[in-house]
Symmetry: C2
Subunit: 212 residues, 2 copies
DNA sequence: ATTAATAGTATCGATTCGATACATATTATG
DNA sequence: CATAATATGTATCGAATCGATACTATTAAT
């Protein structure tokens, strides 16, 4: 069975993006997000986890060592502190994460995935159907999609809360990989070159002096 | 208006996409979706609407005349019939939509946006911050993003429930615009050329005989 | 005619969510 | 140093959502 998919590109002479296009992008993200949520519900139900819990575990598996706190999780989920606190307690009680208080700041708590949590993420995140769907795209498309979503996210965050400027290297969202020389912003998940990591970032949140 | 047709063939890539890349795309969509939701919550609160209600109104403003039913809304939201029925009742009680029963099928109900609903969508969907963020991308990026998300959505739907093949023209998701000659699939939101609308679509759901 | 399937509604219990209030630790200000 | 302001996290409560189940009505299949 052979298949060909045909796309029609709309080239208009006008410069601004039509209101229709914007609504379409919004609806697409909502629909895909909804599908993702329902897949997460299914994959989490075996372990007695709700979709929010799966989302939190997925986030914790990706963020850097400065972003694995309840506050950062709250920001990611877009909920309130109280609600997030409950979800985290459930995850701890079920043995998916461990709490560890910060040595420098007594208020801060770090959330580490336990072995059980790591195993869950490895098997269940992203949900199988989502991984399979991404296999249906080629590598180029996936990377481009990732880039464009990152770009959109940066714009969104810029509109939502005007964060300060700063250099990634001194930002609490900055993440350095161990294996190769690549860096990554833990908030936007945007890959950064060595050079970029010393450039100005609008999403910058200053790291406490001591830790730099 | 000018149109260009581009043929894209699905080729299996030699290098598969890393598990890390997939997780990043999933997290990006979740995070953007969460931001969108919280913006919708804000924009709906003035009218006493919850995020789900705003999502439903947004969907109804975009779907074709065969897809404005409670069942289609249920599929879009990814919830259950009962839950969606409640949300729809609230929207009706608040005067954002009108129910209208199908002339051909006594079981089916169509949901039309009222003037109040149309006004709400015009002002509040997508939320202001999201529109502003999309203005931060250029037109090319926005179109490419829309294409890639559509492609991903098609793959996801293919994995989730193996819909039957069929011709768009006889599909209940098929949508014909009034102004120009463009067509659109109401489910994937993918723009279709006149020619394509007679081609096979994997997402096809057969339209009742009478309506064709 | 009988059975199965589809579209939609109603109800119930569990869970989540957002808001508020609170406790503790750090930082800023004077 | 003292005090206020800020930041991180927790606890609690009521409202709303959600998923499941059961149900009605209409259409389709046999």
């Amino acid at each position: 069975m052979h298949f060909k998919i045909i796309f029609v590109k709309l080239v208009s002479t006008r410069y601004n993006i039509s209101s229709m296009d914007k609504a379409r992008v919004a609806s697409l993200i909502e629909r895909i997000g909804n599908l993702l949520r329902s897949e997460e519900r299914a994959s989490g139900s075996d372990s007695g986890l709700q979709t929010v819990h799966v989302q939190i575990l997925g986030y914790l598996s990706q963020c850097n060592r400065y972003s694995n706190t309840p506050a950062a999780v709250t920001e990611f989920i877009g909920s309130t502190k109280g609600t997030t606190s409950q979800s985290i307690n459930i995850l701890e009680k079920k043995g998916f994460i461990n709490k560890r208080s910060d040595e420098e700041d007594g208020r801060v708590i770090h959330l580490d995935l336990s072995d059980k949590g790591e195993r869950f993420i490895k098997n269940e995140f992203p949900p199988y159907e989502f991984k399979a769907a991404l296999d249906g795209l080629n590598k180029n498309d996936t990377e481009r999609l990732s880039q464009l979503l990152t770009k959109l996210l940066i714009q969104l965050q810029r509109k939502n809360n005007g964060k300060l400027f700063g250099v990634c290297h001194t930002c609490r969202h900055f993440k350095k990989f161990g294996l190769d020389d690549t860096h990554q912003c833990g908030l936007t998940l945007e890959p950064l070159s060595e050079k970029e990591s010393y450039q100005i970032c609008r999403e910058h949140v200053q790291l406490p002096e001591k830790a730099v």
